[in-house]
């Protein structure tokens, strides 16, 4: 049996192979399906989650390596009904098209703003380049990140 801390909750996970990527434990065992599968080879970023606040590719992380680390998924961003500034900006700027990449985009963007409260375009490019959006919503992703950064600044 394995213990996993996800979104502030301890989960006991029975009977999964040690090499199971965290992605599939989240999706198949914990039914947290907001984290997506796109490529399985660390190319698309659809599976991005946070491990102790750092963005990781959950398709590459064997669940046995997580240990007591704290996992955050897209389901754990909002505090109850209260959305984060980024989630709000994503809605306000109507970022998604098919939407499939967007939980990964949000997890990367959340990590970016945690590290850098007011990123430049170049910093956004660098940080977000690991997240593919097949629908090409990049114009809006950038806008939403800037607008969330402004909103947080306004509230501080």
């Amino acid at each position: 049996m394995l213990r996993l801390n996800v979104n502030g909750h301890e989960h006991a996970i029975e009977d999964v192979a040690d090499d199971t990527p965290l992605l599939w434990v989240l999706r198949d065992e914990l039914k947290l399906v907001g984290t997506k599968f796109g490529c399985g080879i660390a190319q698309c970023g659809a599976c991005t989650v946070h491990l102790n606040g750092q963005p990781i590719r959950s398709c590459q992380m064997p669940v046995s390596a997580v240990g007591s680390g704290k996992i955050t998924t897209v389901e754990g961003l909002a505090a109850g009904e209260t959305l984060t500034a980024l989630q709000k900006a994503w809605i306000e700027h109507d970022v998604p098209q098919c939407g499939y990449c967007q939980s990964g985009q949000l997890m990367s963007a959340t990590a970016l703003l945690a590290a850098n409260k007011n990123p430049t375009d170049a910093q956004i490019d660098q940080f977000m380049a690991g997240n593919l959006c097949r629908c090409g919503t990049y114009v809006r992703i950038r806008k939403a990140i800037h607008s969330a950064a402004q909103a947080v600044k306004g509230n501080a």
């Binding site: 999964v16 192979a17 090499d19 199971t20 599939w24 999706r27 198949d28 065992e29 039914k31 947290l32 399906v33 907001g34 984290t35 997506k36 599968f37 796109g38 490529c39 399985g40 080879i41 190319q43 698309c44 659809a46 998924t73 897209v74 389901e75 961003l77 909002a78 959305l83 989630q87 994503w90 809605i91 306000e92 109507d94 998604p96 098209q97 098919c98 939407g99 499939y100 990449c101 967007q102 939980s103 949000l106 956004i124 490019d125 660098q126 977000m128 380049a129 690991g130 997240n131 593919l132 959006c133 097949r134 629908c135 090409g136 919503t137 990049y138 114009v139 809006r140 992703i141 950038r142």
Partner: protein, 773 residues
């Protein structure tokens, strides 16, 4: 049943790649005449007013078609439900694939209903041809096909609420108005919410759709404004919406390993070993049908299925799987060979099929100035981000077997009978739950993954199974955008005007069906047919056994690149301004848009002229640009959209191309949701830019690129600015999932020529030594 037959055959044609011709006919013809539509009022436990505007089936046909769902508790099957608490629900009949249709449908309905937008919820409808008619997302047709129906549904429900209020208040209906989900009587200062009137309205007879007066455009309160997608809150909080998110109690997971050389059969496999692996319930050979090309019709390809307790157990077991393939039936296609053959064929003066010829092109080309160009474009993959998947549950029952499926398809209307056929059931024994689709781009108009899931569910014996494709499965077994070659000869007269056009396409023929490959081939009415008298379009066919299919703006996405690039070659050779050169050609038919046949059906020269001028003006065509920046322009008509784009490009010494800005002028009729429309155009520009740098190549029937590491789609850096201008014309609206794509690629390549003097004639542009910043 005429209407149904027409619509279904339309959809088949669409998938067969004929959409460019058929789409425009559809905009007029497929919509059933208004008189044949009628409202059906549905009473049920839901309470309030439930109003369905039938999809156009006459009542008797409806009775013969699939039995309607049980009325209690009634929800699906209707377009609109107004609950007593004022909540308004629209059941959106077509799949949501990222084109924003759920939101756009809601806006259209709410407009005519005069509803407050925040009262409106949009839900995916059930899949039921008897109630909804054709259900699919393709050809940018959802909007044109539902524009009238949804407006009438809204207006019909509004009329019933008005009638109910007038009756309650004892005043004439003509004195009653509506606004923000409320009925008002100004003279007596009375008002009532839609919710409070819903029950009374439900007791009234529904109106005859013919008597409804639809709003004037100037009175629109919602249409044309910005709306955020109706699923966005669910999306940013990670709610299960997609096919891949389906979880059922007792569900098992399945993979199907197919031959990497498409169409190969299983000779043997180490099944016993696989069955012993942890978490594996079963492994077996699927005989299937080895013919690969028309995956639509052949359903299931041969392979080895593994069924296990979770995704990782089947993915892991698959790594241990050893299959001996019998490749005698497999594709041996080779891109390298095709390229060599095409070059040879292009130089031959005979043997090709003439698709269309007017005037005397040979004679015309023998005098004046002649320009030649040979173009090549590769196959590309859909690469929608959600890999194919499908969940299915086959149940044996005392009253006959049933199949229940959770389907992320673009074409449920075809998928349902296909799945039924695969498991030997009748369509009425099959239920589809349509899921949000994590990217379509045409790939999911093919239901091969649906057929596979149906087959595996039956084999799994009573438990639900989720079929998972890996990215490698997805790229190996795509229905690719077909590659092709085009040899052009164009003539210029003494004034430097276009005087002759000879297009010889080297394209593909499906080895099984002997049909021209889907979205390959040169349409008989391809522009500039009918704009230049001496015109010939012909094609030579190379045998192809890889599956190909519709890919965002099928046919148009490549035809636009060759035609609009070659137009630029001609205007350049004539030493003419490109805009002026194009305007002269369209000007030949100006003022006679109805003159038939005027080239591609629906292509309206005045609308073309309008957007070309607008794009040029907004981009500052001919005006000074920042140092090192150059413009290129292209126009293309597809999916009823007239769109011109101007690319502003710079190219550095290492031939790295940066697209700084794309100016887009689009005439698509009224815009429904401005935010969604802009999103689609921005996405089309990014996709078109990305695709200039991509290809998949097959050798010995196997695709060489099987994951994103070998298929470098664009990421966020250097995303171009998109400056978008809509001509809000009074033509009926069309969808925007596709038509902004085709002009973007040639506009960029024309700008590269302006910057470097190098004509890109081969795609991807890396073949010509260029890269994309």
């Amino acid at each position: 049943m005429n209407t149904v037959v027409t619509t279904e055959s339309f959809v088949n044609d669409l998938v067969a790649g004929l959409d460019r011709d058929v789409a425009s006919q559809l905009a007029d013809a497929s919509l059933p005449p208004v008189s044949r539509r009628g409202f059906i009022k549905v009473a049920g436990a839901a309470g309030g007013l439930v109003l369905a505007l039938s999809a156009g089936l006459p009542t008797d046909a409806k009775a013969q078609a699939r039995p309607a769902p049980p009325p209690i508790p009634f929800v699906p099957g209707a377009y609109v439900h107004i609950a007593t608490d004022g909540k308004i629900t629209l059941y959106s009949k077509n799949p949501e694939i990222g084109q924003g249709i759920k939101t756009a449908f809601g806006v259209i309905l709410a407009e005519e209903l005069d509803a407050k937008w925040s009262d409106v919820t949009v839900e995916q409808s059930e899949i039921n041809a008897a109630v909804y008619g054709a259900q699919f997302a393709g050809g940018s047709l959802s909007i044109p096909m539902s524009w009238d129906t949804l407006r009438q549904a809204g207006a019909g429900a509004r009329a019933m609420l008005v009638a109910a209020a007038a009756k309650q208040w004892g005043v004439p209906e003509s004195e009653v108005t509506t606004s923000d989900s409320t009925v008002l009587h100004a003279a007596s200062a009375r008002k009532a919410s839609y919710g409070s009137l819903a029950t009374a309205a439900a007791a009234l007879p529904p109106p005859d759709p013919k008597t409804l007066k639809l709003k004037d455009r100037k009175d629109y309160k919602l249409i044309g404004k910005r709306f955020t997608g109706v699923d966005n809150v669910s999306l940013v909080t990670g709610k299960p919406l997609y096919g891949i998110d389906v979880n059922l109690p007792g569900m098992r997971y399945a993979i199907l390993e197919k031959c990497p050389a498409v169409g190969g059969k299983v000779a043997s496999a180490n099944l016993e070993e696989i069955k012993k692996l942890p978490g594996i319930f079963d492994a077996f050979i699927v005989e299937g049908s080895p013919k690969a090309t028309n995956v639509m019709a052949t359903a299931v390809l041969p392979g080895v299925a593994i069924i296990g307790k979770n995704t990782w157990s089947v993915f892991s077991a698959r790594k241990q799987l050893k299959v001996e393939w019998d490749k005698s039936t497999a594709s041996k296609d080779s891109w390298t060979q095709y390229v060599a053959q095409a070059k040879e064929l292009s130089s031959k003066a005979q043997g090709e099929q003439v698709v269309k010829a007017t005037g005397d092109v040979d004679k015309a080309l023998s005098s004046g100035k002649t320009v030649e160009g040979f173009y090549q474009f590769g196959f590309v993959s859909h690469a929608q981000l959600e890999p194919q998947n499908c969940t299915a549950w086959y149940k044996q029952g005392p009253n006959g077997d049933t199949l229940e499926m959770w389907t992320p398809t673009q074409l449920p209307g075809n998928g349902l009978p296909l799945a039924a056929g695969v498991v030997g059931l009748k369509p009425e024994q099959v239920t589809f739950h349509q899921q949000r689709v994590g990217g379509g781009f045409g790939r999911r108009l093919l239901n091969d993954f649906v057929a596979e899931a149906a087959y595996l569910a039956k084999a799994a014996g009573g438990v639900p199974i989720k079929l998972m494709w890996t990215r490698e499965d997805d790229m190996r077994h795509d229905a690719y955008r077909v590659g092709g070659f085009m040899a052009y000869k164009g003539g210029l007269d003494a004034k430097g005007n276009l005087s002759a056009w000879n297009a010889h396409m080297i394209t593909f023929q499906d080895t099984a069906s002997k049909q021209v490959a889907t979205a390959g081939g040169i349409p008989a009415n391809e522009f500039p047919m009918n704009y230049v008298t001496d015109y010939r379009a012909s094609q030579s066919l190379l045998p192809l056994s890889m599956p190909v299919g519709p890919w965002r703006a099928p046919g148009s996405n490549t035809m636009s690149w060759v035609t609009q690039s070659f137009f630029h070659e001609l205007s350049t050779a004539a030493k003419r301004d490109h805009v002026e050169f194009l305007l002269e050609v369209f000007g030949r038919k100006a003022g006679q848009p109805a003159a038939a046949p005027a080239g591609p059906p629906g292509l309206n020269p005045d609308r073309a002229i309008g957007v070309i001028k607008l794009a040029a003006e907004k981009a500052g065509w001919g005006k000074p640009l920042p140092k090192g920046h150059f413009h290129g322009l292209a126009f293309y008509f597809s999916h009823q959209g007239h769109i011109a784009e101007v690319a502003e490009v710079s190219v550095d010494a290492k031939k790295k191309v940066t697209l700084h800005k794309m100016t887009v002028a689009a005439d698509i009729g009224p815009v429904i949701n401005l935010s969604g429309a802009e999103n689609q155009v921005q996405g089309c520009v990014v996709d078109a830019l990305s695709t200039l740098g991509l290809e998949v190549t097959m050798e010995n029937g196997e695709m060489q690129q099987t994951n994103f590491d070998k298929y470098p789609m664009r990421r966020i850096p250097n995303t171009p600015k998109v400056d978008l201008h809509f001509v809000e014309s009074n033509y009926p609206p069309t969808g925007l999932g596709e038509p902004a794509f085709p002009p973007a690629g040639p506009a960029i390549c024309n700008a590269i020529f302006a910057a470097t003097g190098h004509r890109i004639r081969t795609l991807p542009i890396t073949k010509e030594g260029f890269t994309l910043a």
